[in-house]
Every structure is written in C-alpha cells, then in structure tokens.
Symmetry: C2
Subunit: 398 residues, 2 copies
C-alpha cells in the first residue's frame, strides 16, 4: 500500500493530453485558454472622454479663460471633431473620442451654461483631467491573457475587447463513468429489499458537469466476461474512465483483474487513506483509468482529491493550482495509521477559514455530505489533531 | 445619492419570483431545490455488509467457535439467504444484504480458509461489526434536503438515492442584457478610431452562464425614441433586464428617462460608491431592472455586488447567503467619501484569506480584472485602511 503523497505524485506524473479546439466566445466561460492573447491595439485605443461635460484647451485655461462658447457636441461613437478656436469648447459625452486641440474635460457639475456659453466654477484643473489616455492600460502587442488561463467573466471581457469571437481552448476530455455492483437499480426504479439505487455515478456526473465536462454513464454487471469485453471498448473510446466499485477484495471484484487483462497498466492499487483505501489507478495509451472504491463517501473523496486536480492539471499543462488551508475548530483523534479525510463544515470568521468536523457514520453515510462542505486532510504520521492547527482542505462545493 | 447599505437594502427588498419547474435529475446540478426531499426508506435500507469476508452468528463466536464451514456465498444484489446452522458461516461481499441469523462480518484479512472451512485469527470481535445497520443514517420520512438548497454533487447523490429522477426546482429568470453606446461594435468587427468592441455584455453573459442562466444580448442605439420603444418590449418579455451604460449625465444618456416613460418605477439612481456611482434600479410589475454604469469595472462590480446576490436571494426565498471576509495585506488610503471597491488578489495563507490590492487605472481599465480575484469593500466612513484590518469581500471568480 502506498501513501497519499505517493499516490498523488503517481497520478500527477501521468497527466492526460486532450488536445485543443476553436470555439465561439459565448461558449468559453469556464474553459482553459490554449493560446496567448495579445492586445490588438492600445487600451484605450483613443484618448477617451471619462465624464459627461465639456472639453477645453488647457493652454486657454492657463491664460485665465473661464468662459467658453460651445462649438458643437462630440458624442460617443462619432468620428473625432476638433476645436476651431482654442478659446471655445466642445460638449463631450463619456466614451467619446477626445476632440482635437482639447486636453481637459470639465464635468457638468463644475460649470454653468447660458446662451451657448459655459462658465467654469473650478479653482484648479490639470491637463488631461478626466481623460483616459490612449495606451495607458495596455500597448499593442502586450500579453493580456496567457495560455492555460481559466476563462472567467473578467477574461471574457478581454477576449471580446480584442476581437476574439473564436478562441483556441483546451478540449475537454471524453469521460465514461462506470457503475458496478449488482445491488444497484436505476433512480426511477423501486429497489427490492437487497437493492439500492445508483447514486455514485450521478454524483460523479454532477461533479464533472460543474467542470463543464459531459459524461457517458455505463453500468457493468458483476460478471467477469462481460466486464472484460465491455471495458475494452469503453477504454478505447474515452480519454478518462472513472469506475466506482468492484476494486476491493470480494469474490465479485473483477475490475482490477479485468483492467489488467485488457492491457491497462496498473500504477497503483490501495492507498493508505480512509475513506478510499481500495483506490486503483492505471493507464492504457492515452486513456487514464481511475477505479474508485464503491462506498459513496470514498468515491466522492477520491474524485475531489485525485481526479479533479488531475483533470485541471491536464487541461493547464500542469499549472500549479492554488491549495486551500483551513483551521480546525475542535480537537480530533484518529489513531489508525492512515491519512484521514475528515468531513467538515467551513465558515469564514473574520477572514479565517475555520473547519468544524461533521464526522458522519462512515464511508457509506453519504447523506452526511449534505451537511459538510469539504474534507480536511489529516496526515497519517499524526493521530491527535488539535484545535487551531492548519490542514489542507479539499472542497466539494463551488 | 444613497449609500451602498441603503442601495443594498432597497435591492434586497424587491426580490423576484421566478416560479418553479420540474426537471430531470441529470439537469439539476447548480439548481435550487423548490421542494423538501424526504427519505423514502431507511438509510441504509437493509443491514448492509461493509467488508468482503464471512458473516457469522455472534452467539456461536461467544460459545468459543473459531472454525466455520462455509454454507454458501451472499453476493451484493442477490436476495437474502440465511444460515441453516448457526455454527456455519456465509461468505459475503461488500454491499450485500446481511444473511439471516448472522450478525458479525469478519474480513478476509482476519481468517484462513481450507477445504471449505474458515478459521478466524482474531482475538476479539463485537456483535454487528462491519455491518452498516438498517436505518442508522436516516429513517423513513427524515428530511434529507430542505427547499432552497443549492444542488451540488453531494445533494445529487441523495436525490438519486431516494428515487428523484425528476426534481422540482426554482425556475431560472429570463434575463436580457442590453448594451448601449454608439461607440460599440461587434466582437468580430474592426473598430474605427472612435469605436471599441462590446465587452461588458459578454462579461455579464459569462457571469450569468456561471449561474446556469442563459441570456439574450440586445444592443440599443443612442436614440431616444428607439430606446423607449424597444425597452418597452424587452421589459415586458423578461424577468430581469440588465443594462450597461447610458445612465450618467450625458446628453445621450436616455436610459433613466426612457425607463420612467415606459412605466418602470425608479427605486434609486446614483449610489455613494466607486466605481458605479450612476447605478439606477427599478421595477415594473414582475420585471426588475438593473441599469448599470457603462464603465467596464463599474458594470462588473455592480453585477457581483448587487445583481448576483439579488438573483441568489430571489431563487432561495431570501435564504441568507454566506459572506466572505478577508484581511488586507497593505495600508490603503481612499479620501473621497464614497464606499470604495478595491480590486484585490486573494491568497490563502495558513487558513487566512489575505487580500493584496491590485488597484488598476480606474473604472475603464478592465484588463486589470484579469490580475485580480475580487473586490474588497472599503466603507465610506473611513479613509485610512490598515494592513491587518478585515473587510467584506466580493469574489468574481468561482
């Protein structure tokens, strides 16, 4: 059995490569950029008026002029006009290009207007006041968004501004989610006394939906030959195969054997952790196989601790992802020499993330997850965990 | 002009009602539950075997028996069998229903097997060991998920387990996003010297996409009559109308007047904040109108500070949403008597959320948002903000 650290390092040393695709800007939210994006023009691309009011010539102001006849109006979206007489002014609207021979904008609040002549009530002003000057934010050719950036609404605004109506992004993996276990029936069915409804595969599909990844749900019966033949096709057709169940020591746990028979290289089986000890991991060509234990909390933990970070790293050419740390609110004891993933409720207390244990009744008690927000990772070389200590946190809520 | 607190309270006192709809379980991720969900059976619904191994009768163990002939196997998903002789055992698989007349499960690691008879190597065991007993997690009729719960993968597992293949959820609002400003051209177009590409409306659409809400993007020209006639139809056809631009003091800022002409009740216009001072808010019947300032950072801030919390509160019957607080890493000065929303980069330092100012060059400099994660809300009654002080945080990243 290997440690959580060893398992993590093996998983992260076998990243997937999902290639790239070009998609429309409106489909980009949440996707990973696969190209560098540069400014196609200065930002702003012209001296932009920042307030509604008038634009004047600063030299005229410096000479002592305070009254300026209005020559005309310069609205936004209209080609640039110019002062004919530098002792006059031009009425300007926010977003307009600054008129020629003007270099100060005075907002409406600061002047009176009568018979087409305005009189400024300010004591002082400065050249370029209320003007967002050409190129002050970015220059043509500046790198605005680097490859591997996750595209949130802020980045969508930048992509729009530089004219990227089509964007090169990382392709999302083709994922199969496989449930196993003859005790499972469909959600719409009524289970007999010895049966339960499928829930793990739906939780996994939901987790992947949150990552914009659509999935194929497949159920395999507890029959050795059927598992071998179906797994072969599934592994060939997907980038990622996530199994739930069938990896323990039971007589019907055919998954590890079947994976090896169809040529999947086993990279590890069994990790010193609770929940999720029977976790099996392997690859075949470009396909990565996560065979997760079938106990619901174990499936859930393994997805968020191993599978999700692996997908994010694969999509971003292994960019480091930020880690969350949290402060434990209560002493906790766990004597078994395994890494223990403790369910916790998270609260923000004056900027400190504090984690309150919501232990639950074991890895089968998945309704307990509804009360919790994530797992605190309690290392295997320690058995007393004290209030106030800081631990790594694995969130399962957005 | 009203304060940020007054604006917040007016917005939150005019929540929307978007009704409910029944959708398939696979579409529920991220949606808000509109019904209470109860356990349709005990959890677990039978005495469930938790380890692969053998099941024995505890009374027989207590009598001193350590060797048990195997009667048969009880796999998962097979109707319950029973011990015929309580001094024998039944081989059991994880997930199986516990065989009748057995009440201890001994895992494979703890016994040897020879010629169909197993010999247990344990010193002690206890009744019900390795058995997940019927009803220990939940009882039939227990409330598992309350109305207004946000459906993350954990809750999806619970919905699946209780057979909710169809779920009553809150309907998402019909949202129109309106851009204004004659200087704007489409993303695929090349702007002339006095033009820029639309970016605010795409950022807003992306923000709503992250909330699973699809939007209609509409552009209005800077023409009074066109704005009035088109706004009338748009307001009638949507639950929420979000405008960007046209709410300031310019001669072409027809939006506030147009909204009042078509019968939208103005609830406020102008808030003591930077960015976003010209923010206008009103309602007409069941439609809520957020007319946001057009400067990109102002649009962005107003969405995350007012619109998003309003949508979440409307979807959840005003359930309190958790607030984030963060610790400022540097002294910061802002002398103007306005609430200032400072862009910051967020880091987790041993469980403390620390916010480093990334001030940017004003509300037009939206490429600065790419470097930041959110806004710190610096109150208007203070002008010196010190390193180590805790402030409210508005995140714009998931």
């Amino acid at each position: 059995m290997i440690s959580v650290q060893e398992a993590t390092s093996i998983v992260m040393n076998h990243l997937g490569d999902f290639s790239t695709e070009t998609i429309s800007l409106q489909d980009c939210t949440g996707r990973i950029l696969a190209e560098d994006v540069f400014a196609d023009a200065p930002f702003p691309s012209f001296d932009r008026v920042m307030m509604d009011g008038i634009a004047i010539n600063y030299a005229s102001w410096e000479k002592g002029n305070r009254s300026f006849p209005i020559q005309e109006m310069q609205p936004a979206g209209v080609p640039k006009t110019s002062l004919k007489n530098t002792d006059h002014c031009i009425e300007v609207m926010t977003g307009a290009i600054l008129p020629g021979r003007t270099d100060v904008v005075i907002p409406y609040e600061e002047f009176d207007s009568k018979d087409g002549v305005i009189t400024i009530n300010l004591e002082t002003t400065t050249q370029w006041k209320n003007i967002h000057r050409l190129g002050t934010d970015q220059q043509t050719g500046d790198l605005l968004l680097a490859k591997n950036t996750s595209l949130s609404p802020a980045e969508i605004a930048t992509l729009a501004a530089v004219g990227k109506s089509e964007v090169l992004v990382r392709k999302l993996p083709k994922v199969a989610i496989i449930s196993t276990g003859d005790e499972l029936v469909e959600v719409h069915e009524t289970p007999a006394a010895h049966q339960i409804r499928k829930s793990n595969s739906h939780a996994l599909a939901a987790s992947l939906t949150e990552m914009n990844i659509s999935t194929r749900l497949i159920h395999l019966p507890d029959e050795r030959e059927a598992i071998i033949s179906q797994l072969k096709t599934i592994v060939a057709e997907h980038d990622v195969v996530i199994l739930s169940g069938g990896v323990s020591k039971g007589k019907k746990d055919y998954i590890p054997e079947a994976l090896e028979i169809i040529g999947v290289e086993k990279l590890f089986h069994r990790v010193k952790q609770r929940p999720g000890k029977p976790f099996w991991f392997g690859t075949k060509g470009k396909t990565t196989i996560f065979a997760l234990p079938g106990n619901p909390v174990a499936t859930f933990l393994c997805f968020y601790r191993y599978v999700k970070p692996w997908i994010l790293a694969s999509l971003t050419e292994n960019q480091p992802q930020p880690r969350q740390s949290v402060v434990l609110t209560e002493d906790y004891t766990f004597q078994v020499p395994l890494t223990y993933f403790l369910q916790v409720k998270l609260n923000n207390e004056k900027g400190r993330l504090i984690a309150t244990p919501i232990a639950g009744k074991g890895s089968g008690d998945f309704t307990n997850l509804n009360q919790a927000d994530g797992f605190v990772e309690l290392p295997d070389d320690q058995s007393q965990f004290e209030k106030g200590e800081v631990f790594r946190y694995i969130s399962f809520r957005k």
